[in-house]
């Protein structure tokens, strides 16, 4: 077959996919970037960025003295700061704990359930866990003399409730990936290390951690993406409240666009989220390019 004939066949199979993507993903993304650089009367401007970045919704310095809200940007960063290390390490720990244990596949399935259910249900579950009357969290805190309350309803605890709830929801992902990763490490490595007199900790640091590195890249990237894009669970559990105390970037964008109908400002927030998610996915793109 000559080259031109080949190309036409190729186009026949690809065209529908390319058209749908161009129409509903690529063009809209470009259009959002465009919107972020224009004002409502269509003149080019950087004011949208200035307005959004100096807005108290995004960053609220007085929050450091008066408490939450601190602004969506900081809320997302706090989310990452707590959720990322805890869920990645906990997932690894659980994968090691559950390895080769009787009925561990049942326990793994239970932990993974949070990944299976719709996030909107996940948000209801979080709200439920932290409720004053029906929540199981208070049941555990009572023995320590901590008064029962609906933790998602107070500015000082709303964001942290969501973050810890999301750890419960999403740890299954890193656990399952690390479990699969552990299976790929040959036992001989550990046997050889044992003969050389290496202790368990040394084996873990010298064999397990480096060999799990490709998986860590995936786990960290995916977790970062969720933390930056988190929307459903916040929407249903707190609606970003009370008083913006648990607001996040994705919800801020939605509020600007579909409640206040300010499409230029909402475009700026969307661009901020996208730039950060693209930066977050660089390591994964790099490692996939290196793979042959």
């Amino acid at each position: 077959m000559n080259r031109r004939a080949r190309l036409s066949h190729y186009l026949f199979f690809m065209l529908p996919a390319v058209a749908l993507l161009a129409f509903f993903v690529i063009y809209p993304s470009v259009r959002t970037i465009y919107l972020s650089f224009f004002d409502e009367s269509g003149r080019p401007t950087l004011n949208n960025y200035v307005e959004v970045l100096s807005s108290r919704d995004t960053f609220n310095p007085s929050g450091f003295e008066k408490g939450f809200p601190l602004g969506t940007l900081l809320h997302n960063l706090i989310w990452i700061g707590i959720h990322l290390p805890v869920s990645v390490l906990l997932g690894l720990l659980l994968a090691i704990l559950l390895r080769n244990m009787p009925s561990s596949s049942f326990v793994k399935s239970v932990i993974f359930l949070g990944m299976v259910m719709p996030m909107i249900v996940g948000g209801v579950m979080i709200r439920f866990m932290f409720d004053k009357n029906v929540g199981v969290v208070n049941l555990f805190l009572q023995p320590f003399g901590i008064d029962s309350r609906t933790w998602t309803a107070y500015p000082d605890s709303a964001l942290f409730s969501l973050i810890f709830g999301s750890i419960w929801l999403w740890t299954g992902f890193s656990m399952v990936l690390y479990s699969a990763g552990l299976e790929t490490i040959p036992k001989e490595y550990y046997e050889a290390a044992q003969i050389d007199g290496a202790g368990r900790l040394r084996q873990f640091v010298a064999i397990t951690v480096p060999l799990l590195k490709p998986i860590t890249t995936v786990v960290v990237t995916m977790t970062l993406l969720w933390e930056l894009k988190v929307f459903d669970i916040v929407y249903v559990a707190t609606m970003g409240g009370p008083g913006g105390a648990s607001n996040v970037l994705a919800l801020q964008m939605y509020t600007y666009a579909f409640r206040e109908f300010n499409f230029n400002r909402s475009a700026v927030v969307a661009v901020i989220i996208t730039v950060s998610t693209l930066v977050a996915s660089v390591p994964m793109i790099k490692s996939s390019l290196a793979q042959e």
Partner: protein, 278 residues
């Protein structure tokens, strides 16, 4: 030495079941709340002084006056089924194109997948809304179905491309020598061979469309058209939370992806783990 090993093993077993308990408690809680009347759970669902299980909450959620889940489930199916069939057909073709024509496509499709994974739906929300508005498709399922189809294409293409690379080309070439066109070869020979791969991709795409909330939120507005996930926040109530009702609703919306997971557990996890382990 032997003794120390058994003690360690025992500690591991206890730790494992403690972890399992922590993780499963909220699920038991939601289940208990859903099957018990309101007055029994006011002091916490873990009080069993009285225990009269009932399906009343499920019936109430199913036939809710303002957020009926019966209607929501029907609507979600009307969206999820075509939003699974369309991208599967389109992306299977693209995946075949990528796998059969000389082209360094593996990396390209994979990077495309990562990019769409990274892209927040907020980035397309406003322009997509404007496009649908221009075509009179706001508050119509067709618009939502098309967005979901586009959104699913990259990963299904990647998935199917890799599947096709494992199917030998001999059969197709034999058919071609007999005079069959590319089109015929694809639909008569390749497509049936690819059915196992298509089935698992379909299951995953279906659960993702079913679980979606944001895209539905920005495209569907009429109360009687809302999808199942959109009705959950509406069940919360304004002044007090009817936990029994909300728990029953949450369970019903969760059941569909849960079933898919139980039936396709291996493929499900493989789909998530696959690319990281190659």
């Amino acid at each position: 030495m032997m003794k120390r090993k058994t003690v360690l093993k025992l500690i591991r077993i206890v730790a494992m079941w403690l972890v399992a308990l922590v993780w499963i408690l909220p699920f038991i809680g939601v289940f208990m709340t859903a099957i018990r009347p309101m007055d029994e759970i006011l002091d916490g669902w873990w009080n069993f002084k009285e225990f009269n299980p009932t399906l009343e909450n499920f019936a109430k959620a199913w036939a809710h006056p303002t957020a009926s889940l019966a209607q929501g489930t029907r609507n979600s199916l009307v969206v999820a089924i075509p939003a699974t069939v369309i991208p599967l057909l389109v992306a299977t073709m693209a995946g075949y194109g990528f796998s059969r024509y000389d082209f360094p496509s593996k990396k390209l499709t994979f990077i495309l997948v990562i990019l769409t994974l990274a892209l927040p739906q907020q980035m397309i929300a406003v322009p997509v809304f404007q496009i649908l508005n221009a075509f009179g498709l706001v508050d119509r399922y067709l618009g939502l179905i098309l967005i979901h189809s586009a959104w699913g294409i990259p990963w299904i293409t990647f998935f199917m491309r890799n599947f096709f690379s494992t199917i030998p080309r001999n059969i197709e070439e034999a058919a071609r020598i007999d005079g069959a066109s590319d089109f015929l070869v694809f639909f008569r020979i390749v497509f049936p061979l690819a059915l196992p791969g298509i089935a698992s991709a379909a299951a995953l795409q279906f659960t993702w469309v079913w679980s979606d909330f944001f895209l539905a939120l920005i495209t569907i507005y009429s109360p009687n058209k809302l999808l199942a996930t959109q009705r959950i926040p509406l069940m919360r109530g304004v002044y007090h939370v009817d936990w029994g009702l909300l728990a029953a609703g949450a369970i019903m919306v969760m059941v569909v992806p849960l079933l898919v997971y139980v039936v396709l557990q291996k493929q499900y996890v493989k789909g998530m783990v696959g690319w990281s382990l190659k």
